[in-house]
Structure formats: structure tokens, C-alpha cells
Amino acid sequence: MLETEGLTIRFGGHAAVDGVSCAFHPGTLTAIVGPNGAGKTTYFNLISGQLAATSGRVRLKGRDITTLAAPRRARLGLGRAFQLTNLFPNLTALENVRLAVQANSGRVLDLLGRASRHRDLADRAMAHLAAVALADRAAAVSATLSHGDQRKLEVAILLALEPDVFMFDEPTAGMSVDDVPAVLDVIAAIKARGDKTILLVEHKMDVVRALADRIVVLHHGQLVADGPPAEIIASDVVREAYLGGAAEAGHG
């Protein structure tokens, strides 16, 4: 489904992601863990096209997408949610999601139709907002939403893209304890559909344990372990690379 082969990016002499080869399969949720600065988000940026690889390949559904720009990758089915909240701040929550629905609908160069008359787009956007328990905030300008609600909106935008590959970058970071279950339920529901490939960067080990089918460990930009959760969590290499920095992970 989604595959990286020797994926590398160098900033000056420093390889932030260093020769990572890994394949991700439909119906599987892969958690990508590692200490801060391990290259997890950079790896995501290389896959979704925000950064261009120095070397190596990215393949989606057998197609080489290494040199494609981010919008093209998004239209091919790569959906990405961001670690730092990344919304359209002065538009309403509904507009934020409607734009994603519209990107996915193909009606993108409609110059003279009235957006407000596309009931179907708004209805679908509303359904995605409801899925993250944000329907009652639909008319709120997104910059005025609470941090937790903004994180949920980020997830709703990703849902609206209806991608084949879902990439979550710490979806619950900074969220209050009350808000976390709603987001985890959404991810679990996507997983339950069985045909989606899910990548999840996450620090919270309880979240990883609850959701992951497989764990990939990155350390200094390299893939150092890959396997079922129970095995990985028990292994020494992870203890050293990741759980050894537990104090660090706690606030990361």
C-alpha cells in the first residue's frame, strides 16, 4: 500500500531521516514511536510531500510518488493531520471541513456556482464534524475554538479528505483528558473499517497499546525496531531508545 525505501533527508551534514525502509498495509494501524528529535515528523513530511527526500523512494499503491508535490499526493489518497494545529484560522469550523470535502469532490474550479448552495458539501462536512463531536461548534470561527476542539477539527478535516492512508501526528497532544477519548474513538472507527492504512505518531504508550497493531521505532532518524506491540515494548532496544527517555516522553 504505502512503502518507503531507503528514505533519507539531510539538512547539511545531519541526516534527520536516514535510510528508512518500511511498508504499511491496509487495515493496519502502525504506531511510529521514538524520542523527541528521532525524525518521526520529518518522516511524515517526506511521505506526505512537505519535504523533498535527499534520496530513497516513496510508493503509494505501487506508484512512485517521491517527486510529486504535496497537493498531488493528497489527491492520490494520502491524508495528513498535523502535530501543530494547522487550520484556516479566520474561517468557521464548518468552512474548514467543507474545503476538505470540496478538495475531495472534484468541483474545485467552479467559479460561478454559489458555495452556499452546495448543500451536499456542507452536509458531508457537518457529518464529519459530528463524528468528532464538534457539530455544535460548526459556526464558530476556528481561531476561537479551544485547543482541544482545534485538534478535533484537524481530525475532522482529515476524515473529510476520505484518504486511503491516514497519517496522525500526535492527535491528542495537549488535549484535556476529557477530549482524548473522542479522538481515539474516531481513530478506532477508521481502523474498524479494515481497508484503511493508518500511521500514528504518538508518545503516550497507553494510546499506542490500545490502538496499534504494529510498532515502528525510530531513533536518530533510523528504524531501529519493527514488530507487534507486545514484543517491541518488551525489547531492550526500545527501552534504551525510547522508554529510557521516559521522563522526556512524558512532556513531549
Binding site: S48, Q50, A69, A70, P71, R72, A74, R75, R80, F82, N86, L87, F88, P89, N90, L91, E95, R98, L99, A100, Q102, A103, N104, R107, V108, L109, D110, L111, L112, G113, R114, A115, S116, R117, H118, L121, I157, L161
Partner: protein
């Protein structure tokens, strides 16, 4: 019906709606309400600059593009009509050809500038448009065989638009309906249609993508929008509207030269109209253009009257001397920007929100 005409983009403020109705009615009836050569000339300028400012708002306010080439597209439309009328017969065929060619050249040029340079950051794009516009202005004054150089071109317009033409015998409401009034209504109706069309564009699905790009281009790319394509299409639409505005002014003035269409002062005026009126609202362009054109044309007169009235008071009379009008205009702008950072429209809408 009204909702459809305004493309669901309602004024959202009672005061704003009232001001807009007054402006539209005053412009619609200008030849009868304000007879006289000067006032009709001001009304034409208001119409033309509303289109220019609205199309610039499409770039600046909706898409977040800073361009200094807007008067270049205005000039291309003006010169298109001017050259066609000067070289060919003064008939409607030449007007259509000139306008069509002007719009085509403007759109192609906007597309080229966009595709080559809208990838770079806002400030660099602004610099590139400045360079292209300056080069074009120099070209227009150097190619005097084609453009009349610094003197510009004088030409005859189609018969129905000439002062000697009469639509009906006798007067209507005390005004002779001559070719000048016909020209005025041509300008008014085309301007109205263009503004309504642009309002439709900004409230279309395409328009919402433009706003998304303005808000967060990075995120717009990440959900699948190729921002350079959208920005370029927006530039082309704005360029086409500016070119038509230039063609309208060329028909009215019967003269086209660098000072009427290409001067950098005009570019600054357009920028001020959009900022003072309120960016990203379309209505702001209407208010800003009306206010600025009125101030440019009547502030001096008003000051002369005020200076007369205050002739006994030594310092005040001097301050209000008509020659100081630019000083007062400048002060007016500074106060406007200071007290209405979101423009007049933003201020009026916020007042409603609190009330």
C-alpha cells in the same frame, strides 16, 4: 432575487446596506441628479475605480496576493480600445476588438507572471509585479508610433457615444439624453455587471479556496489544492476585470495616455481604496473608491468654501487654504487606517455584532 444577485454575500450591517443603496442609486441616476460635466466625470471615475478596486480586492483581500501591476492591466485595456479606435474606424467593431484584445493580452500576461512567480514569497512577487509594471509603462511611452508616447492617443468613439448624438428628441427630466449620457450608462451597467460577477466568484467554491490560501497556503496544499494554479486564475480574473475597466475609461475620456491609466499614483489610489474600504469584503471596494474619488475631486472645493467662511480667523483660514487639500487628505487616510484597521466595512459589521 437580491440574495442571488449578491451571491449570498449580504452586507450584514444595516448602515452598510443603507450606504450601498445610496451609492448605487446616486450612480444610477447621476446624469439626472447631478447634471454637469464635472459631476458626470466624477461619477464615471467612481464606477471605473469601483471595478478596479473590487478586482484588486480579489487579489489582496481574498487571495492575499500583493501586486503592483494592476494599473498595467488597466492600461492594457485602455490602450487596446484607444489603439483600435485610432487605427480602425470609430465603430463598435473596433471597440469590441480593442476590448477583446486588451482582455486577452491582460489575461495571458497575468497567467505568465503568475505561473513564473506566484511560487515565490509574497514580497518577491510584489517586487516582480512592480518591475513588470514599470517596464510596461516605459514601453508604452517609448513605443510612440503605436501608443502616442507621453502624449497618449486621442480618438473618436462610435457615433452613439458622441456628444452630438441624441437618443430622443427634447429633454428627459430636464436633461438632454446625448451620447455622453449613453456612454455614462454603458460604463455604469458594465461596471455593475462586473462587480456582481466578482461577488459571485468570491462566494463560489473557487472563492472559498482563495480564502483558504490566504489563511493558510501550507494547509491548502496539504488538503490537495495547488495554490499556484488558484492564485494564477485569481490574477487572470482580476486582470481581465481591470482591462475592461480601462476600456470603459478610454471610451469615456476619448483620450488614453500614461497618466490616465499607467501612473503609479493610480496604483497607490487603488491600494488605499481597498484598505480604507475594508479588505476581503468587495463592498469595501465600493465604499473606498467612492470616498477617495469624491475626496480627490471635492475636498479642494469644500476647503475653499471653509476657508472663505473662516477668512476672519488668521491661522485657520490659512490651514484651510485649498492648496492644503493633500495635507488634509493625508490626515484623513491616517485617521481612517488608525481607527478602522479592518476598513470601513469591517467597522460597520463589528458595530452590528456588538449591538
Amino acid at each position: 432575487m437580491l440574495r442571488a444577485l449578491l451571491s449570498d454575500n449580504l452586507p450584514r450591517s444595516r448602515w452598510l446596506a443603507a450606504v450601498l443603496i445610496v451609492i448605487v442609486l446616486a450612480l444610477a441616476l447621476a446624469p439626472f441628479l447631478f447634471p454637469g460635466a464635472k459631476s458626470l466625470n466624477v461619477a464615471v471615475k467612481i464606477c471605473v475605480f469601483i471595478v478596479l478596486a473590487a478586482s484588486y480586492d480579489l487579489l489582496l483581500g481574498y487571495t492575499g496576493i500583493v501586486s503592483f501591476a494592476h494599473t498595467m492591466f488597466f492600461g492594457i485595456g485602455g490602450y487596446g480600445v484607444a489603439i483600435a479606435l485610432a487605427r480602425l474606424a470609430p465603430d463598435w467593431g473596433a471597440v469590441a476588438l480593442g476590448t477583446g484584445a486588451g482582455v486577452l493580452v491582460a489575461v495571458v500576461l497575468a497567467a505568465l507572471i503568475g505561473l513564473f512567480s506566484l511560487r515565490v514569497r509574497t514580497i518577491f512577487f510584489a517586487m516582480i509585479t512592480l518591475a513588470v509594471a514599470s517596464a510596461f509603462a516605459i514601453l508604452a511611452s517609448q513605443l510612440s508610433g503605436l501608443t502616442g508616447g507621453e502624449d497618449g492617443l486621442n480618438y473618436r468613439v462610435p457615433e452613439a457615444l458622441r456628444p452630438a448624438f441624441r437618443l430622443v428628441e427634447g429633454d428627459v427630466l430636464g436633461v438632454a439624453v446625448n451620447g455622453r449620457i449613453m456612454t455614462y450608462y454603458l460604463v455604469f451597467l458594465v461596471s455593475l455587471a462586473l462587480v456582481l460577477a466578482m461577488m459571485r466568484v468570491v462566494s463560489s467554491p473557487f472563492g472559498s479556496v482563495l480564502m483558504a490560501i490566504r489563511e493558510n497556503a501550507f494547509r491548502a496544499e496539504a488538503i490537495g489544492y495547488r495554490t499556484v494554479v488558484y492564485r494564477t486564475v485569481a490574477s487572470c480574473i482580476a486582470a481581465a476585470a481591470a482591462a475592461v475597466a480601462g476600456a470603459l475609461l478610454a471610451l469615456w475620456l476619448r483620450h488614453t495616455g500614461p497618466d490616465t491609466t499607467l501612473s503609479f499614483d493610480l496604483m497607490i489610489d487603488i491600494l488605499l481604496m481597498v484598505v480604507i474600504g475594508g479588505m476581503g469584503t468587495m463592498y469595501g471596494a465600493v465604499l473606498g473608491a467612492t470616498l477617495l474619488i469624491l475626496a480627490q475631486n471635492y475636498l479642494q472645493d469644500a476647503m475653499a468654501a471653509a476657508s472663505q467662511a473662516a477668512s476672519g480667523v488668521p491661522l485657520v483660514a490659512n490651514l484651510l487654504h485649498p492648496d492644503r487639500w493633500l495635507l488634509w487628505l493625508g490626515l484623513l487616510f491616517i485617521l481612517c487606517v488608525y481607527f478602522f484597521p479592518t476598513g470601513i466595512v469591517g467597522r460597520l459589521r463589528a458595530a452590528r455584532g456588538r449591538g
